[in-house]
């Protein structure tokens, strides 16, 4: 935007902003986007919104609906400024805020922030609200609820009420989406003789077709569209890095869905493997594909490139990457390209990945029936 236009706009904005309602101000804030889009207008609108009184708190919370992560931060700034002032004046509308907090249709982050401000005036709200939040859309509420359930289970176990403890741990596991809590539950469950399917719990994709190695000498293969990027024909053979390659079936038994390509194929260096699988969704929906790998990678869903990243050996962890994708009803093809480079250090030899399908809270989304069955149902 030219500087003169920016200056002119900045002069005109205050009058427009002063006349706007909280909803209108929030709409201006929510229009922020990439590369500073909507920034100047948002600055003025957010300032005005932040100066509101306690009666604007609920409209601000309601405005979080549909807010992007970036817009969420803008609205958080306004909400916290108003809430801070409202508390100091003894005017925080606790009852209305609580009603917002318990409404699971509302924005998860906004609900959590509202809850934390509610606690400042009503610490008893935690005991009242958290136990019912085991399956909440907000990962943070779930975490608190799971923590309470784990404590309950531990008490029961120490009182030697084994059956009740087992039931409590199983209930806790239903809500657990964070690995540390899952581990804290799994250990006693196993000691109590219970079987746990971690792969299903987390939603890991475990059955794959693999093909490789293709050449990645000097990391140049990252940008080469080898045949699997153009077609998925699982009976095909192609020229690979050194020899002809063909698809193989592979299923990982790792609890965390890790596919070790160095073992599944061989510890090739300067090489690429493609991994394909199908995920059957019960309906068209938004999900997160959460990937962990120390290697460079590309991810396609139904033939569309979802994301790509050329970083090697800077560590890996569960849920390292969260890629939002849109699934269609029925079968969805997921294709990964996992690239190994030629580093010689001991810590640069891993060639592996893990990927799972979950919602935004991290709860697994299980596959529906097979695509054939789903197709029959659609007819």
């Amino acid at each position: 935007m030219p500087r003169w236009l920016l200056c002119a706009w900045s002069l005109l904005l205050p009058a427009q902003i002063a006349a706007a309602t909280p909803a209108e101000l929030a709409a201006t804030v929510k229009a922020v986007g990439k590369n500073g889009e909507g920034q100047v207008a948002a600055i003025a609108a957010a300032k005005q919104l932040s100066q509101g009184d306690a009666t604007t708190l609920l409209p601000i919370l309601q405005a979080f609906d549909g807010a992007s992560p970036l817009a969420t931060n803008w609205l958080l700034g306004a909400f916290e400024a108003v809430a801070d002032r409202a508390i100091k004046q003894g005017k925080l509308p606790a009852k209305e805020i609580e009603a917002y907090v318990v409404d699971r249709q509302q924005h998860a982050t906004a609900r959590r922030v509202a809850y934390e401000w509610l606690l400042k005036v009503d610490p008893t709200a935690a005991d009242r609200l958290i136990p019912g939040m085991l399956l909440d859309p907000s990962a943070e509420f779930r975490r608190d609820a799971v923590a309470r359930k784990i404590s309950e289970a531990e008490s029961l176990l120490s009182d030697q009420k084994t059956d009740a403890a087992l039931a409590a741990y199983r209930t806790a596991l239903q809500g657990a989406v964070d690995d540390d809590q899952v581990k804290a539950i799994i250990k006693p469950l196993k000691e109590l003789g219970a079987e746990v399917d971690l792969q299903s719990h987390f939603g890991f994709l475990t059955k794959w077709k693999l093909i490789g190695p293709f050449d990645n000498t000097e990391m140049k293969g990252f940008d080469v569209a080898y045949p699997p990027e153009r077609e998925l024909r699982f009976t095909a053979k192609y020229p690979g890095k050194d020899v002809e390659v063909s698809w193989i079936d592979f299923e990982t038994e790792d609890d965390y869905g890790k596919v070790d390509l160095a073992k599944a194929l061989a510890p090739h260096k300067g090489a690429i493997t493609y991994a394909a699988t199908e995920f059957v969704s019960d309906r068209a929906r938004s999900v997160e594909l959460r990937l962990g790998t120390p290697n460079a990678w590309k991810l396609w869903v139904n033939g569309e490139l979802a994301f790509a990243r050329d970083e090697y050996h800077r560590g890996t962890q569960l849920d390292q990457y969260r890629v939002p994708v849109q699934l269609r009803a029925g079968g969805n093809t997921i294709l990964l390209k996992i690239c190994q480079n030629e580093q010689k250090e001991d810590w640069a030899q891993d060639w592996k990945y893990q990927i799972r399908v979950c919602d935004s809270a991290g709860a697994a989304i299980p596959p529906a029936k097979t695509s054939a069955a789903a197709t029959r149902e659609r007819r």
Partner: protein, 400 residues
């Protein structure tokens, strides 16, 4: 007359406040030198004046503006809570605490965290950068003025080990380094609006160094030095124009230090580069491989260059020749860089042991203070005190 005196008093107060401030990583001038640290006598009696609790994690340095200490932290199970907290510098009273959410990735190595970059202030606003590439701007009372989620614009400008380069305010531009193996840029941001003035491509290589200022004849002539594995780039902060480059490689962890027209770069040990005004070619004065610093950035103070090497030995170096005048073994290991004030250097090792070294013909540890917690962030010097933070606490250290 009364108004004139009042006005003069206000100007004087502001000037004094500015002089005593510590407004960005390694101080307002990014040199590691504090203009308002403990006096020489207070350095010998340093003790904890106050401490305050923090939540979450943080490696960033505190910054000080007037009587306010600002600290950034990251919290939550996924470190996706981005916090800015403000304390009164004289008492440690919590003034305000604000939280936002990460819009970018929060994966880091367990040793570091999402709040590793040190915030910056221009005296009216605080700019906090996080490893998620979120850049927050709040006023001194904690009100959000603007924010950018820079990973939206640069989706691969991240490092799975974590980003740690601090932004730098120079000549009216906030320079934000976002350098990594996959996507690598430096961005010049307008502090008033958060809008991008310029962005330049940088070497695609992980980088944890922070930019420094190469002073010009006037502040408007100042250049920003961006360091990477490729070397140095001297950039005009107003428009991102690269004025000169040093391409003989440099470290990606300890940052350079500037004294006058000389830049001491962690390159092949330490390389001293002289930059003549208006010249596009820095001249290599000397290079000494054995001066290689570990994690801590060197400090130029009192006509000497101080380097902390991999063996936790402090080297006092003649800046004209690169020869070592004296050396002093300290108790390490260190992640934090030293800072200087009133003839002393302040070190904090990873175990939280503060070691105060008096600088004379030789160096001597005159005081130690055991903070008892892991400290990885560089301390700050302001308000006749030293400010240190761990994950869980911030301390003010002053003389008795």
């Amino acid at each position: 007359m009364h108004c004139l005196l009042m006005g003069l008093a206000l100007i004087l107060t502001a000037t004094l406040a500015n002089a005593g401030d510590w407004r960005q990583f390694r101080g307002t001038a990014a040199t590691g030198i504090g203009e308002s640290g403990p006096s020489a006598s207070a350095a010998g009696t340093l003790e904890v004046a106050w401490s305050a609790d923090l939540e979450g994690r943080g490696l960033s340095s505190p910054i000080v503006v007037g009587n306010k200490v600002f600290v950034s932290s990251s919290g939550g199970y996924r470190q996706d809570r981005l916090k800015v907290t403000c304390f009164a510098a004289d008492s440690g009273e919590l003034l305000w605490d604000r939280q936002f959410r990460a819009t970018g990735r929060t994966t880091t190595h367990p040793k570091t965290c999402v709040a590793a970059a040190t915030p910056v202030s221009d005296g009216e606003r605080v700019f906090a950068l996080y490893s998620s590439d979120d850049l927050l701007c709040v006023d001194l009372d904690g009100n959000l003025l603007w924010t950018r989620g820079l990973m939206l614009d640069y989706p691969n400008a991240s490092n799975s080990l974590g980003m740690a380069s601090s932004p730098l305010l120079v000549a009216g531009t906030l320079v934000v380094p976002l350098e990594s193996d996959s996507q690598s840029v430096a961005v010049g941001i307008d502090p008033a609006t958060g809008l991008t003035k310029w962005s330049i491509e940088r070497p695609k290589r992980a980088n944890w160094t922070s930019p420094v200022i190469l002073p010009g004849k006037t502040p408007d002539d100042d250049l920003v030095l961006l360091q990477s594995s490729a070397g140095l780039a001297a950039v005009r902060p107003g428009n991102g124009e690269v004025i000169w480059r040093y391409t003989d490689g440099a470290s990606t962890i300890p940052s350079s230090v500037v004294a006058g027209n000389t830049v001491y770069v962690p390159s092949h040990g330490i390389s001293a580069l002289q930059v003549s005004p208006g010249s596009a070619n820095p001249e290599l004065l000397w290079r000494v491989e054995r001066l290689a610093p570990n994690t801590a950035s060197p400090v130029y103070y009192g006509d000497k260059l101080y380097v902390l090497n991999r063996a936790n030995v402090l080297l006092c170096v003649d800046p004209q020749t690169g020869n070592t005048d004296w050396q002093l073994r300290l108790e390490g290991p260190f992640s934090a860089s030293p800072v200087a004030a009133s003839g002393h250097l302040y070190f904090v090792n990873e175990a939280g042991l503060v070691q105060v070294v008096r600088l004379a013909d030789e160096g001597e540890v005159v005081t130690t203070v055991d903070l008892g917690q892991t400290v990885l962030g560089t301390p700050s010097v302001a308000q006749q005190a030293v400010f240190v933070r761990s994950d869980g606490k911030v301390w003010k250290l002053a003389g008795k």
